[in-house]
């Protein structure tokens, strides 16, 4: 087991202690596993709370701050957090304007956030939820798709709206619009190793890749012989474009996230982005903004995902709005 950890049991708590040490602007409750923006309540804004299993860093804790999340609830590695965490986060950030839960579409996340919402509403908070389900690799109805890279788009854009003082209904509507406008597809060049298991989650022989993977070390839909980046980009982009978004201008420009799964060098990721940009140009899809890096990861998995969001002027304006979090910063 090649891990820079103290023990599998303490991984999440240790990381939270490190976040607390590195980011004095965040209030990190290591014991109760909530990361809160210190000034969350100061502006009388709508609160934005997300969370999910750990192992996807910088998602979600790295997106807490000005113009993005008010709080994040990290669960155990690849395990949804418990309702107590979300309730605590909601209470900590609510400034009377209500709270939006950003939920990736997994049974565990959905059920735990649902229970948290019930508890919070019992305590008199106004709660809205948005479900992120962008991964086109999952067959079946959109309701069954997983949430992956689009989470970043939803959190950034809803966060910008909340920062501007938009009311809960509008923040929630925008978040839903972004979720419905976004589609993703991921590819693994290696499995990942969870601290608890200590060995790769699946066996991928050298020279093969998995198409349509998620962000929890699950294998994908299909195994193929290794391909050049150019062909992987074509496959991923075409898979995304084949599944029309439910919202957003059908032939408008896109926000593109070319995301590393954790262990793919940035050198390779930029090379991959060149191919993604080339395929999009070929398909006549203008790229309004591109973000390249490790943002929604799967521990030490090698691989990448492509997320496209059909963006109108309003979404682009909110995307460009200032953000200041550990992992995403601009304009301020």
């Amino acid at each position: 087991m090649r891990m820079l950890i103290n023990s599998p049991e303490t991984v999440v708590a240790d990381a939270l202690r490190g976040m607390a040490a590195a980011h004095p602007e965040l209030q990190v409750d290591v014991e109760r596993r909530v990361v809160v923006r210190r000034d969350a309540r100061a502006g009388g804004r709508v609160g934005l709370v997300s969370g999910g299993g750990s192992g996807h860093e910088p998602l979600h804790g790295g997106f807490v701050g000005y113009g993005m999340l008010s709080a994040a609830c990290p669960g155990e590695v690849f395990t949804s957090p418990v309702p107590d965490q979300m309730l605590r986060a909601a209470t900590a950030v609510d400034a009377g304007q209500g709270v939006l839960f950003v939920v990736k579409n997994y049974t565990g996340d959905v059920l735990n956030f649902e229970m948290a919402a019930e508890l919070a509403e019992e305590e008199g908070l106004r709660i809205e939820r948005v479900l992120v389900n962008d991964d086109v690799a999952v067959p079946g109805s959109p309701a069954e798709r997983r949430g992956t890279g689009a989470t970043l788009f939803v959190e950034k854009i809803a966060g910008a709206a909340a920062e501007e003082g938009a009311p809960l209904e509008r923040v929630a509507a925008l978040a839903r619009r972004v979720a419905e406008s976004s589609r993703s597809f991921g590819v693994a060049l290696s499995a990942c190793t969870t601290p608890a298991k200590g060995s790769p989650t699946f066996d991928l022989p050298d020279g093969e890749l998995e198409l349509g993977i998620g962000i929890h070390g699950e294998p994908g839909r299909e195994r193929r012989p290794m391909m050049p980046a150019r062909e992987i980009a074509r496959l991923a982009v075409d898979a995304v474009l084949a599944e029309p978004a439910e919202a957003g201008p059908a032939d408008g420009p896109v926000l593109a996230l070319v995301n590393g799964m954790g262990a793919t060098p940035l050198l390779e990721l930029y090379g991959f982005h060149a191919e993604v940009a080339a395929v999009l140009a070929e398909r006549g899809v203008p790229v309004a903004r591109a973000l390249v890096g490790n943002y929604v990861t799967s521990l030490d998995m090698a691989g990448c995902s492509v997320t496209l969001c059909r963006a109108d002027e309003e979404l682009l304006r909110l995307w460009d709005a200032p953000v200041q979090t550990p992992a995403l910063r601009w304009g301020r």
Binding site: G108, P219, R221
Partner: protein, 198 residues
């Protein structure tokens, strides 16, 4: 009639079985899931054991409700709310009686399993914990032993199934040929019940 102590022993026996089988549950969750089911169950039932020892609830219903609440607060994932709901709902059905009959327990478990199906939007055949819970609880009308065995058989019967719920679903056809981790832990729960019922 079964008193609170019986239910505490049931939970303790489940915790012991989960401890024993944790690695295997995580292994099962690896090819078709995210390799955490054993760790999740272990964290949850360790907490259940501790909290029952500390608070010592005095009725069967109170034991199960506290156990369920504890699972919800400590497990996370899909299994936390599902198992938590199973025990909470079963405990609610048992009310405040100091002792409950085997029939009452069977009825209550029926309701508990129904609550799981409702919360998870799932049914037997979907390759989930329900594939062990449903036949297991049905076999309670025969004996506790039969229930444990039926749950075990139900778990094994998930191997050839195509998953329609939970993470295994993402794999489509590739989910076939693997035993469902949640069905496996459900068999541990009902096996522990058979064990303490003697």
């Amino acid at each position: 009639m079964r008193d609170a102590d019986f239910f505490r022993r049931w939970m303790a026996a489940t915790a012991a079985a989960v401890e024993q089988e944790a690695d295997r549950l995580t292994e099962l969750d690896s090819p078709i899931g995210d390799a955490d089911h054993g760790v999740n169950m272990l964290r949850g039932f360790t907490a259940v054991r501790e909290v029952l020892d500390a608070e010592g609830p005095g009725t069967p219903g109170a034991v199960l409700r506290l156990a369920g609440r504890t699972l919800i607060s400590t497990v996370g994932g899909a299994s936390g709310p599902l198992y938590g709901t199973l025990l909470r709902r079963t405990g609610k059905e048992l009310g405040e009686a100091a002792e409950v009959s085997d029939d009452a327990l069977r009825e209550a478990l029926y309701a508990g399993v129904g609550a799981v199906a409702q919360l998870g939007g799932s049914a037997p055949g979907d390759k989930t914990m329900l594939d062990a819970l449903v036949p297991g609880v049905a076999a309670l009308s025969t004996s506790y032993r039969a229930a444990g065995d039926a749950a075990q058989d139900g778990a094994q019967a998930t191997v050839p199934m195509l998953a329609r719920k939970g993470r295994a679903r993402y794999l489509g056809e590739r989910s076939i040929g693997h035993q469902d981790p949640g069905a496996t832990s459900a068999a541990l729960l009902l096996g522990a019940l058979a064990e303490v019922a003697g």
